[in-house]
Assembly symmetry: C2
Homo-oligomer: 369 residues x 2
């Protein structure tokens, strides 16, 4: 799979390199940061009164914490392989010595939001590329793929774009089904991970990670925390020869504003993506612009509005009825619409706390505005 090497619209080359270094540092610091969090619990355990300390020891609490430390190390080894050739992966430059992983973390402390994103990336491997993720893919990807197959029975040469492609499974499944498919992703965490799966994993279940070890709450047993997840569940190289499948790196609004993309797509498929916008109207307008006349837009997802409470970030948060009105006013006709479509997102099914989205699914057609 090719990775296109576009840059983010608002960043200079210098800023982009700094961002790249920050993410790489965060990934290199994974083991250290995870052990620091575990140490907090171990330290509090050590401070318990003697009789409580003895009781929890007898109940194997400290040995379960030791087991978590081993699993952190196993995740660390997979992450290390994932970023082994990071320096030359996306930048249009020779490997920069500053960017070559040094096998140890830098002195810079990792931002909490980056630690969170590493945990999300681990869970995303499970969602997109493991047997354990099959249920979630059935909920969120199958309705889109079935709709595509109904709308475009010819498949061959039909161009589908998947913005917010994450680890690339929806785009891969669309290509597997015989469509030309391009995924687009902005997050470097996701890009490192999708590059790893799509270009480095040559056999089924060649890696094992432990995505739930960072969740210290709502566990029925500590074995549940340590569930192993192997990936990929399919060989990512098995794409039909005649199919074009690619990924682009960069901000959707930046990459696809390029005139070459105007009226270029038969269909845009968005899945848990629309609410990643600072301004959802910009997404709606750009999707309209890049579709061919009569082109289709298929969407499934909630309206979480990721920037809703992030200081310094632009955010508008219209409810679905207003979003629907804006889509219609922007030159789309609704062909199909379902509300209350149940879908989980990187849910640990063993947890005592379950999240479930009631998504909107719709299929629109581009009309004259």
């Amino acid at each position: 799979m090719d990775v296109d090497q576009r840059t983010c619209r608002t960043n200079t080359e210098e800023e982009e390199k700094a961002h790249f270094k920050r993410i790489l540092n965060a990934l290199q610091a994974y083991k250290n940061d995870s052990m620091t969090r575990l140490s907090r619990t171990r330290h509090h355990f050590s401070q318990l009164p003697a009789h409580q300390h003895a009781l929890l020891t007898q109940l194997a609490y400290p040995s379960q914490l030791d087991r978590l430390a081993e699993l952190i190390d196993q995740n660390h080894q997979v992450i290390t392989e994932m970023i082994a050739d990071a320096a030359s992966m996306f930048l249009n430059v020779d490997p920069d010595p500053e960017l070559v992983p040094r096998g140890k973390s830098s002195q810079v402390s990792t931002r909490p939001e980056d630690i969170e994103k590493i945990h999300s990336t681990l869970k995303q491997f499970a969602r997109d590329w493991s047997q354990e993720g099959a249920k979630e893919r059935q909920q969120a990807y199958m309705p889109i793929i079935e709709e595509l197959q109904e709308a475009f029975p010819e498949k061959r040469g039909v161009k589908i774009l998947v913005p917010g492609a994450g680890l690339g499974r929806l785009a891969f499944d669309i290509a597997q089904a015989g469509f030309d498919c391009q995924g687009n992703e902005f997050s470097l965490f996701m890009l490192f991970a999708s590059n790893f799966v799509l270009n480095k994993c040559r056999t089924v279940e060649c890696y094992t990670i432990y995505p739930w070890i960072h969740n210290f709450t709502n566990n029925m047993s500590m074995q549940d925390m340590g569930q192993a997840v192997s990936f990929p569940d399919v060989n990512p190289n098995e794409i039909p020869d005649e199919v074009n499948f690619s990924m682009t790196a960069g901000d959707f609004l930046d990459v696809y504003s390029d005139p070459e993309y105007r009226e270029s797509q038969d269909c845009v498929a968005t899945c848990f993506f629309l609410d990643c916008a600072n301004n959802i109207l910009d997404f709606i307008e750009l999707i309209h612009k890049i579709l061919k006349p009569g082109g289709r837009w298929i969407n499934l997802g909630p309206l979480l509005y990721h920037f809703s409470d992030i200081p310094g970030e632009f955010s508008i948060e219209p409810s679905y009825d207003i979003v629907k009105g804006a889509i219609q006013s922007s030159g789309f006709e609704f062909l199909k619409e379902k509300t209350g479509v149940k879908a989980n997102y990187t849910q640990n099914v063993q947890s005592m706390l379950q999240y479930e989205y009631r998504c909107v699914f719709f299929h629109c057609q581009k009309t004259a505005k």
Copy 2:
């Protein structure tokens, strides 16, 4: 209903007064803080390009934001009534001029966690004291009340303690069923609110609030955000004459460590409470201590461990299998146990994001240790 006036174990009178003032200030600042959050969205709306601004205006986005401002004001009026006699409510002192609400917020900025707790308190009114909360009470309170009725068919004079009583509905329902019941609560937000419902609401549905207006995400329509909830759904004064019903204010570990409570209770009923502990073993030990020989402990809840990632707070997070072992080792025999008991907690049923707990329900009996 009487409110006992104990103080928190770790605080001096001075610290306690400062804490009281902080919470009162936060409640007085509710309108101002809520309007500030709304202004953020309004400001971003005003910055949209002209054609997008016109489109959202046509779709009634700004008028829906104006409606939210009105509903903030209505919540503010209920909160103002709630804290009207706050100064003399819990402290063993004459009304302190410093503590008398001045009808306007102070210059001190409200802590984000206190803003969050005010939102939780509004939702708690819906959970505990509205028709809309009936489903959640059916899920979480009914199994406990039914178990109590089976274990203590005589009811009269049987003493039940409910730690973490919140807005007091479970304790009230237990007293309604004919048991003597004492609720205990630490949070001043909850204490202001429970005092308001239990001692100031004389008729059914005499107040109306809008608990969901602070959730800007995952809304199907902005009308959903503005759902009205009236309370109380029952008259809180209708308790059988022969029943003793009271609330104590203060930290469970502090209040009930007092020797007068040793072997004083026939039953402790904990509901979404056990995981509020910094050290869950302390809770288990104290529950054992205050129960009469052969006394019962009935519990329903998850293991969210509220202090798990709060900087500076002590926290251990054993999974349920270890907690169960600790309960057994501490001198309890399990009479009944169910896992995977589904329960929502202050869930907006209209939201595109639903949370559901898979709780543990158990009924234990105190044995010799």
